[in-house]
Amino acid sequence: MSPKRFDAVVVGAGPAGLAAAGVLSRAGYAVLVVDEAPVPGGRLWAQWHRLGSTVWDGAHEVDRLVSALAPGVQWRLSTSVEAIAGSAAEGFQVDLARGGAVGRAVLLATGAAEVPLPIPGWTLPGVLAVGAAQTLWKGWHIPPGRRGIIVGTNPLGFAVAQELLGAGVESLAIVMPPPSMATAHLGSLPQQWDRLFELAAGAPRWAQPVARLLHGRAGWQRMAMRLYPPGGLAVSGARLQLRRQALAVEGGDCVEAVTLQSVDAAGLPAGAPWTEPADFVLLAGGLRPLGELTAQAGVQRGHYDGLGGEVPLVTARLATSRAGLFAAGNVLGVESARVAIAQGRLAGWGMVAHLGGSVPADRWREAEGALELARRDAPFAFQPGLGAARLRHRADSEREVGP
């Protein structure tokens, strides 16, 4: 079995990978796209938002990206990449379940994963991660249930709540997760409130009631929490109950109820717990860049909370510390799908240049401009401190791997 050789192997057929494959294939290079899912598109399939007066429809974006590929692009779908070995000089061996492939350049575009919230009972059927619920609904039109509780105040949870309330879900409350040593990364409840307020400051519709609570004034968080209505605030039809935490999910074979408890304005438990019936629970623990392959491939990385975790350091053209290995999309930090597309294009051109092709100056300008624009227009930040983290990542990258 001698592995087939390609100019470029793209790992991950989400928006970032597809955009890069488009650039590379149209520039005449032999490209292999590998994805462990049976269809290309990655997380795009689950996305549908209103963006001002327009609509962002992920399925439509998949069509657009796939039809922009030049003929001759090779596919390996339902195929996981297990490891990447070798170097640009001898060719990277991309180890695939069922045989391998060799690429002179490789793009790592494997996206992000959800972080669970381990409250007792979270492994019961009927408890889902918010992203999984989003996929079930958008991809398969299966609503998770009728009466639900979202645990955690991650922005993705708000976005999904909004989608589900239009989808047969009758009641939905958003509550805080209980403090746990295993979720120390979330911080204390007051820290989580502060982050929420920070995100709400420049935020879309869902956050406006929260933002109003602050009257646009810094330092109001503590006061706002003291005044926070016990029954919660209505946010796009869901009840946002910041002064409640979920202690456990209850049920025999599936979710039947959630044990809740009030907390005081300092985030400490107040009063006896009680249970509320629910037929589904969504965990909004946040997203993190999927780091297995970047770690395994041995590229230099750094930890940035604002980007969601451990990410490779890259040049402005998205080259990692290992010549010929590039990264784009959510592996570089959790941002919107449009950002992923723009990064994919930029990495695509970076790979063209690495393969010896010439890249006209206006191409770079165009790609870099599109990235900037996508960031400016992002519907929401997935993590607070994104901007600052991006700057630190840029500075560290410049120092460690070059401009």
Binding site: M1, K4, E36, Q74, W75, R76, L77, S80, V81, E82, A83, D95, A97, R98, G99, A113, V115, P116, P118, I119, P120, W122, T123, P178, S180, M181, A182, T183, A184, H185, R226, Y228, P230, R243, L247, A248, T259, Q261, S262, D264, A266, L268, P269, A270, G271, A272, P273, R288, L290, G291, E292, L293, A295, Q296, H303, G309
Partner: protein, 105 residues
Amino acid sequence: MGVAGARGPEAAAPAVDAVICRCEAVALGALVAARNAWAIDDLRQLKLLTRAGMGMCQGRVCQPLLESLARSWGWDPSGALAARPPTRPWAMGQVLPESSEPEHG
């Protein structure tokens, strides 16, 4: 509500029965107990002795939780759960010559 009341006993007890590693069914309590029993002070050792992070998903789900736990105990988790190839399970039969497939077109 809204006034700090007496804390119920449930509030004081940490959620020791919360499962941290789903694949290997390891609860927070088991991790704490293992750490105390063996005087573990390192995430890799905790993983190998409790199997947390060693399940079918290769820690994809529980890794951030284990790392958070490690940090809360003052351990440096970096590299402890380092990805080792293969990053995904593969069928043993694929090493047989007959199973080499033609490339998809």
